[in-house]
């Protein structure tokens, strides 16, 4: 990594509050961050810690209660549909559940064709579009000829998620927000997906924000790790720093929860496991 790093996405005092009055919940509480281009960042936290809300705010799918988000050094402006569209050319996402990410009524081709359209390929001849789609599919080890003219429910979860990566490959945004892209699919496909994300980063140099609740996974893929607890970043730093020398209590707890292959005796001495037995 070079010494000079361009700030790609940053935020100051980003807060999201749901509800009003006594039902008020602060999902994201006054968060500051600076993400540099080309990095692969992991945001780790348990369910309900505000990871997904933060992602939705970064994507501009939910309004920000207070605070500012800067995109490529400028304050982002998503006040109109046109500006939003422009913003989304630079920032894209992969969602957690591949099964619900597709419109079940439209064919898979339309998802990819939309991406080509969004990158200004509206007027291209159809053969050219097919070539682009074929290239994207081969990038994620899918055969375009097997994919074309099919409905989403005819694919497996792993194939669907790979197709989502193909979509990102076509769009080539500056930032990719991957919201637990591997949590809903089986372990074999998981490694493939992760490798494809890394390959995507290496080939296009895009910044990837990887959301997960799995500390081990975060350590495996990311350059830096942000630990999120109750809407706040409690610790951040390079992956090595955070994982090998954790400072916050919450980080230690998360590290403790990473499943390891233990000797059965050692496993039974695991603090958490023992606690469950006594309770």
């Amino acid at each position: 990594m070079s010494e000079y790093r361009e700030v790609c996405l940053s935020g100051t005092g980003v807060t999201k509050v749901f509800g009003i009055g006594s039902k008020k919940t602060v999902a994201v509480n006054n968060v500051d961050f600076k993400f540099y281009s080309g990095e692969l960042i992991s945001i780790v936290g348990e369910s309900g810690s505000g990871k997904t809300t933060l992602i939705k705010m970064l994507l501009g799918l939910t309004s920000v209660t207070s605070g500012e988000i800067f995109f490529m050094g400028e304050k982002r402006d998503i006040s109109s549909h046109k500006k939003k569209k422009e913003y989304w050319r630079g920032i894209q996402a992969i969602f957690q559940d591949p099964y619900s990410s597709y419109n079940i009524f439209s064919k898979i081709d339309s998802v990819l064709l939309d991406c080509i359209k969004m990158r200004g390929g509206r007027g291209l001849p159809y053969e050219k579009k097919v070539d682009m789609m074929r290239e994207a599919c081969s990038f994620v080890n899918l055969k375009f000829d097997e994919m074309t003219n099919k409905y989403p429910f005819e694919l497996s979860g792993g194939q669907m998620q790979r197709l989502m990566i193909a979509r990102i490959f076509l769009l080539k945004p500056k930032i990719l927000l991957a919201d637990e892209p591997t949590s809903m699919i089986d372990a074999c496909s998981r490694a493939t997906i992760l490798e494809m994300l890394l390959k995507l980063r290496d080939e296009t140099g895009m910044m990837i924000i990887f959301i997960t609740h799995d500390m081990g996974l975060a350590y495996y893929v990311s350059d830096s790790v942000y630990i999120m607890e109750k809407g706040k970043f409690v610790e951040y730093g390079s992956a090595n720093e955070v994982v090998l020398t954790p400072k916050a209590e919450y980080t230690k707890q998360l590290l403790n929860d990473v499943p390891k292959i233990h000797d059965p005796w050692e496993f039974s001495r695991n603090k958490k496991f023992r606690k469950e037995i006594t309770v």
């Binding site: 569209k85 996402a93 597709y102 419109n103 359209k117 969004m118």
Partner: protein
């Protein structure tokens, strides 16, 4: 989608409702071809002619009709039994009771045994104690009348001579003369009789079902269109637009829909209330339910990942609404539409009963038929055929549509799916 339609065909409830509804549709399409003519033509000069087959007496006694001779045992008794008036039967019972028969043993609704009892017990010369002479004579006359009915001397048929006007003997008619029904051209079957104006009830009913379904269709389409549009906008756009739409919805929910309907129909006045206008008015007062249902569905859909992805792909709001949300709620909307149609048919019937339905003399509607039956006291006259078939048909249409709706609900509503 294909899978769900397959499931639908296997669903018993849906298929029963569908078959009943389609049979009704088939019947009202085919029937006018078999019995042509204007359904509102007054063919009867009596009011409330009971259901039955009517053959022209003039044609039957025509001397040119071929006469067969049949000797059927018991024919005379059967004829008397059928034509014995109720007052005579009561008089017969009274005499038998006075002569010492227990009243419980006599059933005046069973003329055959009554007649047998009478013939066995009555003696014209026997004078019961305490009976005044006038009554005694009256019973004798009754007996003569009854015995006279057994008399099978021939009727004589005359016709006027076209030149002189003198009666000309044509033919005797004896009780063994029969003619074939197929020889008589003028037979009119009135399966449901006629109403007070002497109009064929079944033909009227067939037309009324069509007109009522049209009202239901107009009202259902309007209610569904408004409800769908407002529901989509309220659910997807949200914010103050949602607040305003929901405020109007709540307002209309609080005011009973039928009262609103009555007031609207009344303010339009009889001159303006055509079938179409009534359909539109019903549609305009019943969209609230659809709006609420669609809104809640859209609310649960708008935060789905596929909608988010569509947004990220830069799609415009109308495209997202029509391509990413509408297909998901389409089955739900069809269900709502079916309920609206059924509700509108009932609403029309209710309005017309109050005299606020379509004010037309051109066509009948189910509600108007009920209204006519009520205004001309069909229930007091015992003319069940003037209102019962209408009520039954309303119930049947409503039942079949609701059954279809329930069947669809079980398949399309994920909460009910098993």
């Amino acid at each position: 989608m294909k899978n769900q339609i397959k499931q639908l065909l296997k669903s018993g409830k849906f298929m029963v409702g569908f078959i009943v509804f389609m049979s009704i549709l088939l019947f009202i399409t085919i029937y006018p071809f078999f019995v042509p003519g204007n359904p509102l033509q007054m063919i009867g000069y009596n009011s409330f002619i009971p259901p039955g087959t009517y053959l022209s007496l003039y044609d039957a006694v025509n001397p040119n009709v071929f006469v067969y001779t049949l000797r059927i045992p018991g024919a005379a008794e059967a004829r008397i039994v059928n034509t014995l008036p109720m007052s005579d039967r009561e008089a017969m019972r009274d005499w038998l009771v006075r002569a010492g028969m227990p009243e419980a043993a006599i059933d005046i609704y069973d003329p055959e045994t009554l007649l047998a009892l009478w013939n066995a017990n009555y003696d014209p010369d026997e004078r019961i104690e305490g009976m005044i002479l006038a009554d005694h004579r009256a019973y004798q006359r009754l007996n003569n009348r009854i015995q006279g009915m057994f008399d099978a001397s021939a009727l004589r048929l005359y016709s006027a001579d076209p030149e002189t006007g003198e009666p000309q003997f044509q033919a005797p008619i004896t009780d063994t003369d029969y003619i074939a029904l197929s020889d008589i051209v003028n037979i009119r079957r009135l399966p449901l009789g006629t109403d007070n104006f002497g109009r064929d009830m079944l033909k009227q009913l067939v037309q009324a079902i069509g007109v009522s379904l049209r009202i239901g269709l107009i009202a259902g389409s309007i209610a569904t269109a408004i409800g769908l549009l407002l529901g989509l906008v309220a659910g997807y756009v949200g914010g103050w637009v949602d607040e305003i739409i929901m405020f109007i919805c709540n307002l209309l929910t609080v005011i009973p829909g039928f009262v609103l309907l009555v007031l609207l129909a009344f303010s339009i006045g009889p001159a303006g209330r055509s079938v179409t206008i009534v359909g539109i008015v019903i549609g305009l007062t019943t969209w609230v339910w659809t709006t609420r249902a669609v809104r809640s569905q859209v609310l649960s859909l708008r935060n789905r990942d596929h909608v988010n992805l569509s947004k990220l792909s830069g799609h415009s709001l109308p495209r997202i609404v029509f391509k990413d949300i509408l297909p998901y709620i389409a089955s739900y909307v069809v269900m709502a539409f079916i309920l609206q149609v059924s509700g509108a048919i009932l609403a029309e019937a209710g309005l017309s009963m109050l005299g606020l339905g379509p004010s037309t003399t051109e066509v009948a509607t189910l509600g108007l038929m009920m209204n006519w039956a009520m205004s001309f006291s069909a229930h007091i006259m015992g003319a069940w055929w003037a209102y019962f078939p209408v009520v039954f048909v309303i119930a049947l249409i409503s039942f079949s549509l609701n059954l279809m709706n329930t069947g669809m609900d079980q398949i399309f509503n994920p909460q009910l799916r098993d």
